[in-house]
């Protein structure tokens, strides 16, 4: 017993020394190595057995989806798999980060974060801020600048605040959750039951949004429909807990207060100040003092204790599956994480690299941790120790694009290239309240029985279906091509045998058999998930 304790003590001391030494050597070591070292230390300390490295095919598909929101086509697949360059993975990551689809995909992801799957009809028609995001990501604008522009709502980003029109409490919940990784919503109606936040904290933040005015410009949607103006007066009137509310209750004004920090210093208004009207969209008054601007500055400040951690955690989760803190927007002392030190490193480096997301993502994708296989005995979709690669469903947008790429179906017009309503309806929200995937009956009825998917498989001249039917190659080569095109890997021996049997069967017409085979590959779990 004593010996075991002694060894244990020494092990802890050794670990502490190693960690300390790592901290010292952190400067100069690329982030990818720091990540791997921390994750390895976690495995050792908790006696977790990781799986091995993902093979080339698995890595190829995963990194294409993560960086471009689409699978690689047949040519890109074959080329990568045949490439003997030992640096090919790193070079692929570089290529994809410079691909225009990178910006489009990040725009899709962030637009979804900012607006969710059920924005109002208006906001949906306007597309949220998707196009603005795509443009910013294409230029790799640093994240802090991006958020600042979003929160100033001046040039093309008005829709973010506009979605909360006249509900500053909803704005509070969204801004704190998305940019500060803090879930405040419980503190709206009563002091938070187990976190440190009180209603005063909640309404202190609401004070920054209570003076915002959403002005409808009317007219053509092309110019953007909304403008965000700001009043010089107006305060949150706090009336206590939700359960104690009675009609006509008079509230106490709450001064704006930065979350977990100081009350905002504001200059006094002149005594005879009269709030102007906001009726003329062409000539909106500016406030005497802008709370909105102060909030924007504070949120993205390098010393804001939440901002860097929140984005480091969130983008980590985008690629590694499970946030270091999980859920990603719940960075709380009461929400413990095994990898607290790793998060500090990530956040610190994010600040050091001035919120350069491309750099950050490049490091994540080049880590060994990211490149682990998805196979093995662990059944969690998002393994807690990152001992296996994460498994998550393709989004509606990704499925739409991937099916196009896999089948070779070409949309007839630009409108056809944006994800269609059926995909959004059946694949838009495949999770339950906890964020766990659940297959839905309606999704499969659509996939099994709709003419839409049939059309995508069959229609066109140079698509996979035609190529397979018209090709004079032997069946096993055709099966190779099918697998490489749809699943981005060559078939295993049993699969090849089975598919050749199927396709060369005398029992059915060749076009039906080919269509069935393609359908099966599109329908299987391997296609449905990013692993």
């Amino acid at each position: 017993m004593k010996l075991a304790r002694l060894i244990a003590c020494k092990a802890i001391v050794l670990l502490a020394i190693v960690t300390f030494a790592q901290g010292d050597a952190a400067r100069g070591q690329p982030l990818r190595q720091l990540i791997d070292a921390q994750v390895k230390a976690g495995w050792q300390a908790d006696q977790v057995t990781p799986v091995g490295r993902a093979d080339d095919a698995a890595f190829l598909r995963r990194v294409y989806l993560d960086l471009t929101g689409d699978i690689p086509n047949y040519d890109d697949t074959v080329k990568f798999l045949a490439d003997k360059d030992p640096q090919k993975r790193a070079k692929l990551i570089d290529r994809l980060l410079d691909d225009p689809r990178y910006a489009e995909h990040q725009a899709d992801e962030w637009n979804l974060i900012l607006f969710g799957r059920h924005p109002s009809e208006e906001i949906r028609k306007l597309g949220g801020v998707r196009d603005w995001l795509a443009e910013r990501f294409a230029k790799n604008i640093p994240y802090d600048q991006l958020v600042r522009e979003l929160l100033l709502a001046e040039k093309g980003t008005e829709n973010f605040y506009a979605q909360f029109n006249r509900k500053p409490e909803d704005t509070t919940v969204a801004v704190t959750r998305i940019f500060l990784g803090t879930q405040l919503q419980c503190a709206r109606c009563h002091d938070h039951p187990f976190e440190r936040w009180t209603q005063k904290d909640f309404y202190g933040m609401t004070g920054f949004f209570v003076r915002l005015v959403v002005v409808d410009k009317g007219g053509a949607a092309k110019d953007g429909r909304y403008l965000i103006a700001e009043k010089s007066t107006g305060d949150v009137l706090f009336t206590g807990e939700a359960k104690d509310q009675t009609p006509g209750k008079k509230g106490e004004p709450v001064k704006p207060k930065f979350l977990g920090a100081a009350v905002l210093e504001e200059p006094e208004l002149p005594k005879d100040f009269k709030e102007p009207d906001f009726k003329n969209p062409k000539n909106l008054p500016s406030p005497k003092f802008s709370r909105k601007a102060k909030l924007a500055d504070w949120v993205v400040a390098a010393d804001n204790p939440y901002f860097a951690r929140a984005v480091a955690n969130r983008v980590w989760a985008q690629f590694l599956g499970r946030g270091i803190v999980h859920p990603v927007d719940d960075l709380s002392e009461k929400n413990p994480t095994r990898h607290a030190k790793l998060l500090e490193i990530l956040a610190g480096q994010m600040v050091e690299h001035k919120f350069d997301l491309k750099w950050y993502i490049r490091e994540l994708c080049n880590s060994e941790t990211y490149q682990l296989a998805a196979s093995g005995p662990v059944t969690d979709a998002l393994p807690r120790w990152y001992e296996r690669a994460r498994v998550r469903p393709l989004s509606a947008e990704e499925m739409f694009r991937a099916i196009h790429t896999a089948t070779g179906y070409e949309p007839k017009d630009k409108k056809g290239s944006r994800v269609d309503d059926y995909f959004l309806r059946y694949l838009g929200e495949p999770m339950n309240g906890r964020g766990d995937f659940q297959g839905s009956l309606n999704e499969h009825l659509f996939f099994n029985n709709s003419g839409n998917l049939r059309t995508m498989i069959r229609d066109g001249k140079n698509n996979l279906y035609r190529t397979i039917l018209d090709s004079k190659d032997p069946w096993d080569q055709k099966v190779d091509r099918m697998f490489l095109t749809v699943l981005n890997r060559p078939p295993r021996a049993e699969e090849k045998e089975r598919f050749v049997d199927h396709l060369s069967s005398a029992d059915g017409k060749p076009d039906v058999l080919v269509e069935e085979a393609i359908w099966v590959l599109l329908s299987c779990a391997e296609f449905r998930f990013n692993k």
């Binding site: 304790r5 244990a8 003590c9 908790d46 909803d170 879930q183 919503q185 187990f194 859920p327 719940d330 413990p336 994480t337 095994r338 998805a374 196979s375 005995p377 662990v378 059944t379 969690d380 979709a381 998002l382 296996r388 498994v391 469903p393 929200e429 339950n432 309240g433 906890r434 964020g435 766990d436 995937f437 659940q438 297959g439 839905s440 009956l441 309606n442 999704e443 499969h444 009825l445 099994n448 029985n449 049939r454 295993r492 699969e495 089975r498 598919f499 199927h502 059915g508 039906v512 069935e516 085979a517 359908w519 099966v520 590959l521 329908s523 299987c524 779990a525 391997e526 998930f529 692993k531």
Partner: protein
């Protein structure tokens, strides 16, 4: 000396509340995320095979013209009350068949609810929570599908037809989303295979082969959920004959009445027999802001034979003691009659009727004042109503789930089943 287990494994109060000790699964395991061992609960409920048929009075039915008559009062309207087979219980003269079934009915006359309009009222009366909360609450049907449904069933557990709810399966997830049928009883799109049976079977087997291959290497839970859902789609094709009532219709047409509602309720009875735990049939349209009396007479013409026959039919087949039949809309209607001979929305005092599944029939629960303007005694909230419904179906009314980290209960705190109804 040193505590060597990793901190994360300590059951902090927070982790306990989150049920963080359970592993995540998107699989069909019941009550994922719940704190109590409701897997047993679900298995128990399934054993007794409880079911619920919701007759949804879309638009909001007028209580004063159906079950809470006020003869001789300025708010009473032109319809006359009729004596039911139980002394003291009267209902509208246009519900003569229902008058013969009052011994089965618990008529709640004291509904006092919070959401006065259609979108919010439909949401509130389907989920027992306000729409303005912006929480993804599941509908009654989804909750019952989860706790009274059979995972291996060929048919979906939450089926609905016509104008119904607007909340969906919420935080329970897509596995419990409703399966919709057209007003005319026809199945929705994508329920017909475009391949013949042999071809469908062939590709199904090829699919299963691929899933098996995948399963050899990859064990993550979502893969099972995916395969399971696809099998459900094939099972539905196999079982969808039950939706076709055309062969039975001649035999039952006169009893149920030749209306969408009549056909819908016959189909509902068949689905209950086939083991479906929740079916909702929407009845259009009670939203009579004008011509209230013409509208309600026409509706009752359809409602009376259809509803009474359903009760009879279930009774004859020994299903009524395990099947709850609910009649409700999103709101009641105003005692005051407006200048278009209409009644507008009213939530201060209105009526909902329950029958079956052990509900003590032959009673009127709660009452309203002489003009029907307010509840006199025993007001019933949405939460109490849902508690009563869940309780009679063997579902825990306070079953807990999570939306992210926030715990959320099937009924609001303080909701209780109505003792006089459930015994």
């Amino acid at each position: 000396m040193h505590n060597l287990c990793p901190k994360i494994e300590h059951v902090s109060r927070r982790a306990f509340l989150k049920g963080a000790l359970a592993t995540g699964t998107g699989l069909a395991l019941p009550n994922w995320g719940g704190l109590f061992n409701s897997q047993t609960m679900a298995a128990d409920t399934a054993k007794k095979r409880k079911a619920c048929i919701l007759i949804w009075a879309n638009g909001g039915a007028s209580q004063l013209d159906t079950f809470d008559m006020k003869p001789g009062r300025p708010t009473g309207g032109p319809f006359r009350p009729m004596q039911s087979k139980i002394p003291g219980i009267q209902l509208c003269e246009y519900l003569p068949k229902m008058a013969q079934h009052v011994d089965k009915l618990a008529i709640i006359r004291s509904m006092k609810t919070q959401s006065p309009d259609h979108p919010d009222g439909i949401y509130h009366m389907h989920t027992c929570y306000k729409m303005s909360e912006r929480m993804p609450h599941p509908e009654l049907g989804a909750m019952i599908a989860k706790y009274a449904g059979n995972i291996d069933a060929d048919l979906p557990s939450f089926i609905r037809m016509g104008p119904t709810g607007n909340a969906g399966s919420g935080y329970l997830g897509p596995q419990y989303e409703p399966f919709g049928i057209g007003r005319d009883g026809r199945l929705g799109g994508f329920t017909s295979a475009y391949l013949d049976e042999k071809e469908e079977k062939r590709r199904a087997e090829l699919f299963r082969f691929m899933e098996e291959q995948n399963g050899k290497l990859n064990k993550a839970e979502p893969f099972d959920s995916h395969r399971f859902a696809k099998e459900r789609a094939w099972k539905l094709l196999r079982a969808k004959k039950v939706f076709d009532i055309s062969k039975d219709w001649d035999q039952y047409k006169d009893r149920y009445g030749d209306s969408d509602l009549g056909r819908g309720l016959l189909m509902a009875r068949k689905l209950v027999e086939a083991g479906v735990p929740f079916i909702e049939i929407g009845h259009d349209n009670y939203d009579s802001h004008a011509d209230n009396f013409v509208c309600h007479k026409a509706n009752m013409n359809q409602l009376d034979p259809a509803w009474s026959t359903l009760l009879e039919d279930l009774g004859e087949r020994g299903l009524l003691q395990d099947t709850l039949v609910v009649w409700m809309g999103e709101v009641g209607r105003t005692p005051n009659i407006n200048n278009r001979a209409g009644r507008d929305h009213y939530i201060r005092a209105w009526t909902i009727v329950l029958a079956g599944a052990g509900i003590k029939g032959g009673q009127q629960y709660g009452s309203t004042d002489q003009d029907g303007k307010d509840v006199k005694d025993n007001p019933v909230s949405e939460g109490d109503l849902f508690s009563t419904i869940y309780h009679s179906l063997g579902v825990d009314p306070r079953v807990k789930h999570y939306v992210g980290t926030r715990p959320i209960w099937a009924t609001p705190e303080g909701s209780k089943p109505i003792k006089e109804l459930v015994g």
